[in-house]
């Protein structure tokens, strides 16, 4: 099979099933996103793929360590080293020749607005700057597989744009990018999306496929619905309420065209209802 990823990977921490037969493929030249709430298993999945965790069952396809760039949850940089020192250490550890590394470091720092902070200690950076530093560090080995654990969490909108530029250009350069995020609008920009919920695959495919696959329709209401069963199928979004109508046909005046965020909510509700029936 082409690309990197997992096949039916399961991970158990004590009594807790962190991942349950999860498969994902990250293709070269594409961004693949893993979406899910906190505790859904995103980090565990990425750790397996990056090689930081050996799964209890299933197989992982990854290039050799030298060809993987990994941004762990904690940025993976030394707080008592400066920005530039961290980056030099990382590229030297991956065997990148110093002149090449120096050029790339300069470019990335310029592009991410970190150039002015390059002599500051990583521990003194703001949360967003630290994420940017972590992503730049992961990019330095020019990896075939780039694994980014929530690269944009806690990052301001301008920096998010910088990061997206970095991530997109890595993919354009041929890298297979696998990133996790809690933001569905961000996942919607990815070529493929895996939606995780409590360690299980909720949905998988292109954003359009995932949206198209949701059963029924979604209605917008100004108030939260009164009926108990409708209440259970409703969620708040953008100052109004959305209600999933599993069986309602098209043509309702208040239905909206769903996006990925709606699709993820529906998929989660769908599973809940199925579990309740079973």
């Amino acid at each position: 099979m082409n690309g990197w990823g997992t096949h039916e990977v399961s991970v158990r921490f004590g009594a807790r099933q962190a991942l349950d037969r999860v498969s994902i493929t990250a293709l070269p030249g594409q961004v693949t996103a893993v979406v899910g709430a906190d505790g859904a298993g995103k980090t565990t999945l990425l750790r397996c793929i990056a090689g930081a965790l050996a799964p209890g069952a299933g197989t992982v396809r990854r290039p050799q360590a030298r060809r993987i760039g990994y941004l762990p949850p904690g940025a993976g940089v030394y707080e008592d080293l400066s920005v530039a020192e961290n980056l030099r250490f990382r590229s030297a550890s991956y065997g990148v020749p110093a002149p090449v590394a120096q050029r790339h470091i300069g470019e990335y720092l310029e592009r991410t607005g970190l150039a002015a902070a390059q002599d500051r200690l990583a521990g003194q950076l703001s949360g967003g700057m630290l994420r940017k530093l972590g992503v730049v560090a992961a990019l330095l080995p020019e990896p075939e597989l780039l694994v980014l654990d929530e690269p944009t969490t806690g990052v301001d909108p301008v920096s998010r744009a910088d990061l997206w530029w970095l991530i997109a250009s890595a993919a354009a350069g041929g890298a297979a990018v696998l990133m996790s995020t809690t933001y569905t609008d961000e996942a919607a920009r990815a070529a493929r999306v895996l939606v995780l919920d409590s360690g299980r695959t909720l949905a998988e495919g292109t954003p359009a496929e995932i949206v198209a696959a949701i059963p029924g329709t979604i209605a917008v209401r100004p108030e939260r619905p009164e009926a108990q069963d409708e209440r259970r199928r409703s969620w708040r979004r953008a100052g109004a309420w959305r209600v999933w109508q599993p069986a309602a046909g098209p043509g309702h005046p208040d239905t909206v065209t769903p996006d990925l965020q709606d699709a993820v909510c529906v998929a989660a509700l769908h599973r809940e209802l199925e579990a309740a029936h079973a």
Binding site: V11, R12, F13, A18, L19, T44, R47, C48, A50, G51, A52, L53, A54, P55, G56, Q64, A65, R66, I68, Y70, P72, P73, G74, A75, G76, V77, Y78, E79, S93, Y94, G95
Partner: protein, 355 residues
């Protein structure tokens, strides 16, 4: 305030290691150190050389424990006095009595065995009331204190303190190195990077190795320059001992680091290895006065051997030909500690398993 107390107890109960350390360690340390803490010397290892040495040996009070006699000059053999001096230099005895010299009997005392030397001087002055042999010994003998004629404490402390400082740098500071990566979350990054465990291990150790050796050079230089401690022996033998010793202490530091979850735990463990070494290694209390049931612990501690080497080389110019046993023991300890540390380190860097 009650809420605060309850919270504190909860946290304490969760951190069992600290709790154990607070309750078990003081008791254990008190018992061990209580048996070790003794300056009293009851027996002084003694050799007698020269004509009639057997008779002199027999007449000696029991404080002087006979470690050997040397009868007389044989063809091509050593002169009795030279033999006696070698015995002291090589640490076989703390006192040597040489008979048959022109100026009357000669008592040589090893000044690096501070407590043995003091005990000997005390006993010699009391000898007058003994048998005729001993009375004549006491009356006519000339006493010579070797290596540390003024019986200065600094002479014997500084070679040993050099070792304590190495233990501090080696064990306490190294023990933070690995656990810091675990706490900062960079260990995960290291684990996925294309580095071999041996690269990471050596990369972590070598800087401390350099610092520890530089430290040692400074301590020895200051000891010699400021406190006037002699450096009588071979610098090469001393350096070899220091290398072995630093290797053991750094290995111990990594071992401690790899079994600790937090820097606090690492420090606690490291201090626990530091304290017994300071008190049991012969640095402060003479090894011979430590109760045998506790003394065996001293022989598991690297500082015991380093103190032996540094005192022997610096003060008595002891050659490696008689100093090899501590080198062998240090090398053995080094092999054991390094093996354990590397094994732990490998497991530390290998990906965790989620079953």
């Amino acid at each position: 305030m009650r809420a605060m107390i309850v919270k504190e107890f909860r946290q304490l109960r969760r951190d069992r290691r600290t709790l154990a350390m607070m309750i078990v360690m003081p008791v254990l340390l008190l018992v061990i150190l209580g048996y070790a803490a003794s300056f009293d010397v009851s027996r002084v290892p003694t050799v007698v050389a020269g004509p009639g040495s057997a008779a002199v040996a027999k007449a000696l009070p029991e404080t002087f424990q006979l470690a050997g006699t040397y009868q007389a000059e044989t063809a091509g053999g050593q002169a009795p006095e030279a033999w006696a001096r070698d015995q002291l230099r090589d640490g076989h005895a703390a006192v040597a009595i040489v008979t048959g010299t022109a100026a009357g009997p000669l008592v040589l005392i090893d000044g690096t065995q501070l407590f043995d030397a003091q005990k000997t001087l005390q006993e010699l002055s009391a000898l007058g009331g003994g048998t005729a042999t001993t009375a004549s010994l006491a009356g006519t003998a000339s006493v010579q204190i070797l290596y540390n004629p003024e019986l200065k404490t600094s002479y014997i402390m500084i070679p040993g303190l050099a070792g304590v400082i190495l233990v501090f740098v080696g064990t306490v500071i190294t023990s933070l190195g690995v656990v810091r990566e675990r706490q900062a979350g960079t260990l995960e990054q290291l684990a996925v990077m294309p580095l071999r465990p041996a690269d990471v291990f050596l990369g972590k150790i070598i800087p401390y190795f350099v610092v520890a050796l530089a430290d040692l050079a400074i301590v020895v230089a200051v000891g010699v320059a400021v406190f006037g401690v002699p450096f009588a022996g071979s610098a090469a033998v001393f350096a070899l001992g220091a290398l072995l010793f630093v290797f053991v202490t750094l290995g111990l530091g990594v071992l401690i680091s790899s079994v600790s979850q937090t820097q606090g735990q690492a420090i606690q463990l490291a201090v626990m290895t530091l304290l017994p070494q300071v008190l049991l290694s012969g640095l402060i209390f003479p090894l011979s006065s430590i109760v045998i049931g506790v003394r065996w612990i001293a022989y598991l501690l690297p500082l015991t051997y380093f103190t032996e080497i540094s005192r022997g080389v610096m003060l008595r110019a002891q050659p490696i030909t008689s100093l090899w046993p501590p080198f062998v023991y240090l090398a053995l300890l080094g092999a054991v500690v390094a093996t354990l540390a590397t094994l732990r380190f490998r497991a530390f860097l290998a990906p965790g398993t989620g079953r």
